[in-house]
């Protein structure tokens, strides 16, 4: 049995800083917006949906107590639909697609909704605690270092300069702004509307088309203090002893934007699609998650990609387009260097540096972005690869039907 992707949708991504558009919008409302939209776009009878799984990286507070089930009730899905919240850090939204596909392929589900949600405005980073970074015994044993410091270490290891990472960031903004202007995202972004029917936000608000090498050069490194003063450089150097000095080159402008947003993807069997009159747009060809260095936490995408390619019996040259999550500019740059991939096939419509990274939602957003772009270019095969907290990586290969 094969798992097919029928549709996908996302909310716009709003800056989570002061003045961000979703500051007063609850994560439940954001997730419910995505769920309502995926239902209405295909006029699905929700009693047919076997499960709704949503990725969420800080499942506490407003995002706690299984936000997937909460949000689907608020989206007015039938009460017979169950929901589950999934946490594999930044690939949570991709994980929901992968496991939904596996459950469909296994014959467990016929129709499922995957996706994710994160309101970094209302549930800030680290509010969920966690021993991996806060328990001294665990953090010592695993060599915990914040990902930003890890990004600088990754750049040092690969020999990337400040110009390299800034140039990548400029390109992300330019590509994202260009894609919006050309209307490439119109089909898949559902505006967030409040209870009064007023539009809260209809377009990603973090993109700055004017971003340039000059404007980025004014930004100070964000992780130098943590690296040098708080001792995290030393933690990384224990693992990478050939680094004499960590080059702190990442900053707010070449790291993923901190934003709020939600996403949803509709997956099902061929039969259910025929039964309810939907045309499949793509299928999930293979996927893989791997563990990688828990100190840098950003080296997982390449080994995950190799594993997924291996499972599909494919080689890297079989992939037409890539979405490599731009957690930090060094991550896609390292992926391209390690896998020998042409930058013109990677993140062609920009990425998380320009549009932001709503952690739990991102994976499913990238699936959707990739399908839309494969269709627009009339290409066949695409890969999503994401670096994952605590040192993991997830990659998924999709294929148009």
């Amino acid at each position: 049995m094969q798992a097919y992707i029928y549709d996908h949708v996302r909310t716009p991504r709003a800056r989570s800083g002061r003045g961000g558009s979703f500051r007063e919008i609850t994560p439940t409302a954001l997730a419910a917006t995505a769920l309502r939209s995926i239902r209405d776009r295909s006029q699905i009878d929700t009693t047919l949906i076997d499960d709704v799984s949503l990725g969420c990286v800080a499942p506490v507070g407003e995002q706690g107590a299984n936000i997937a089930r909460t949000a689907l009730l608020m989206a007015d899905f039938d009460q017979s639909v169950p929901g589950v919240q999934v946490h594999r850090y930044c690939s949570s939204g991709l994980e929901t697609c992968n496991t939904a596909a596996a459950q469909i392929a296994a014959g467990v589900h016929q129709l499922a909704v995957a996706g994710g949600v994160e309101s970094l405005s209302r549930v800030p980073l680290f509010l969920d605690g966690g021993s991996v970074h806060s328990d001294p015994e665990v953090a010592t044993y695993t060599g915990y270092s914040p990902q930003g410091v890890g990004a600088d270490v990754l750049a040092t290891l690969w020999g990337f300069s400040r110009e390299d990472v800034d140039a990548f960031a400029v390109r992300s903004h330019q590509r994202a702004a260009g894609a919006w202007d050309a209307g490439y995202f119109n089909r898949s972004v559902a505006p967030v509307i409040d209870d009064n029917g007023m539009v809260v936000l209809a377009r990603d608000e973090a993109i700055r088309a004017s971003t340039s090498m000059e404007s980025l050069s004014a930004l100070k490194p964000s992780f130098e203090f943590m690296g040098v003063k708080s001792g995290f450089d030393a933690v990384c150097q224990l693992r990478y002893p050939h680094i004499q000095n960590v080059r702190h080159i990442h900053h707010a402008g070449n790291s993923s934007g901190i934003v709020d947003g939600a996403s949803a993807v509709l997956l099902g069997t061929r039969e259910i699609g025929s039964a309810i009159g939907l045309k499949p747009r793509a299928r999930i060809r293979s996927y893989a998650s791997v563990g990688s260095d828990p100190t840098i936490m950003l080296t997982g995408p390449a080994p995950a990609a190799r594993k997924a390619l291996d499972r599909a019996g494919m080689s890297i040259s079989d992939i037409d387009l890539f979405e490599i999550n731009e957690a930090f500019a060094a991550v896609p740059l390292a992926f391209m260097a390690e896998m020998n991939v042409d930058p013109e096939r990677v993140n062609v419509n920009g990425g998380s540096i320009a549009m932001g990274h709503p952690l739990g939602a991102t994976g499913a957003i990238l699936v959707g972005t990739l399908i839309d772009e494969l269709e627009r270019r009339n290409l066949q095969t695409g890969m999503i690869a994401i670096c994952v907290g605590a040192g993991m990586g997830t990659a998924t290969i999709i294929e148009r039907i």
Binding site: F126, H133, D135, E137, L238, P241, H242, R247
Partner: protein
Amino acid sequence: MIDYDVTPEGAAVLTWNMTDRPVNVMNDESLKLFAELIEHAITDSTVKGIVIASAKRDFVTGADLVSFLGDRTPHIIFEKARFTQSILRRLETGGKPVCAALAGSALGGGMEIALACHHRIVADKPTLRLGLPEVTLGLLPGAGGTQRLPRLIGVRAALPFLLEGRLVTATEALGIGMVHEVVAETDLLPKAITWVTSQATPVAQPWDTKGFTLPGGTLGPVEVYQVFATETARITARTHNNLPAPRHILSAIYEGHNSDLDTGLKSELRHFVSCACSVESKNILRTNFFGVSDAAKLKGRPAHEKELKVELLGVTGNSETVKAFIDVAVAARLPVKWHGSPHTTLPPEWADYVTLAETREDLQQCSYIINGDESNTLTDLVPQAFLWSHANQASDGRAHLRLAGPGRRLIEIIRSNTTTNSQIAFAMDLSRRLRKVPIVIQAGQNTYIERVGNAYSETVRQLVNDGISPVLINSAAKQIGMDSQPLPESESARQISRTTPNEWQRATDTVAWIKDVLLTAQAEEALRCLDDGTVSTPLDADIAAVLGLGYPLHLGGPIGYIDTIGAGKFMDTRASLKRDAPITPNIEQILRKHAESSLSFHGD
């Protein structure tokens, strides 16, 4: 041992007074009595409150580590530490007001007793210090210190005390809320008695009172992250994860700070036992706490030799070595008479302590002469003169001194077969006056420190010649815990260079190998020195390497390192390094003997 009096006002005064010892220590006997007296005071209905005091200059210095760590079986240390915790818990939950009257310093266990009291009054003395320096001994406070101090002053404020052994004066302690009152020493006991007899009972600690929150508020998850993730990294940066104590202390705080005190004490107890039973803790205590402090107190000084009071030190010669001795004397505020070369001028930083000797006869008044002028024996001049020159010239019957590198605490006293005990004793007295620690070695071509130091630097040189990256060699030295880098920081490594994941792994493997190479080279040379009598005991070898070369304390020393990994593993490691140098046959025999019978060099 502990005096017990009940005052007319109804205060039971427990006065620590261990007459058979210079200081009050917590050992099996004193703790048992302390527990009985507290129980008695709590249950005696005529007693209104309890004052804990000391008849010594200082309060209680802490656990008697000899008795405490005599048997390093986890369950024995667990039971001992739990007993101490239970005494203090009974003290603070008995309902009667308890006041610590601190006339002198309260460090470590003494401070932990004070923290378990409801009220702390301290004498206003400038020399008095309060704190929990256990971490500097490679241990953690195991009598509630990791739990009560954060509950008293807040987690962030408590960290420097617990993780770095910060000490404070009475006034500083008052400012941060560690104590309640600072009073004139004569008022100390009256104030304490008044306090304990005027409280409404039952009295309870803040942390045993309903609604208690940590000072500054309970730490939320984001603050927990900020505090503990960062402190963990700082510990790694400081210790390269070689020292167990700071990490166990931080874990005890992390696991305990948000729970009830009894639970927190259990966290502390488990970490205390893990730390105390670790081989690193054993090494640190053996070399530093026992070894270095005994050596600094001149424990090995020949008995019955008259003490030399050095009031004026004579120095001759103009070499860098001579000047290093003068630097040390100046730092130790010891007046120096210097007979340099004819054109010697006095550097301004020496002016307060050094005067120039016009003639050799001017040195006559010195109590000790360090002679760096090899052309001149000076034997005619001062009958008790002691001479410094090179080790291989130590055949003239004198004791010769060799100062370890700048900032190092070691003096090697080089004795030859003719050196008399009185000369050794005088050289030791001078070392102590110079605030250095002496180790006596046997004369030879080179001193012990020169030999082990050369083995290290020669190995580094060979590695560089073999094309090993200086960055990797420096990283390996840092990871071992050597206190300085063997090679200058490389300029080329600042350039951008691309490396691949395979190369990352190779670098990690190479560093692991370099660490073994460096540690093996030093240990082997130390073993040779032990074998040929250059150094007389394994402990001397370890103390000298730690103080003279910056050898990492957590391994104990180069001989401690062999014990740490075991002689068998040491031989296997040596064989696996694939280095050219063949092993000396006696050394191999010694190692084999130790390996076969699982003997340690230190016998512990």
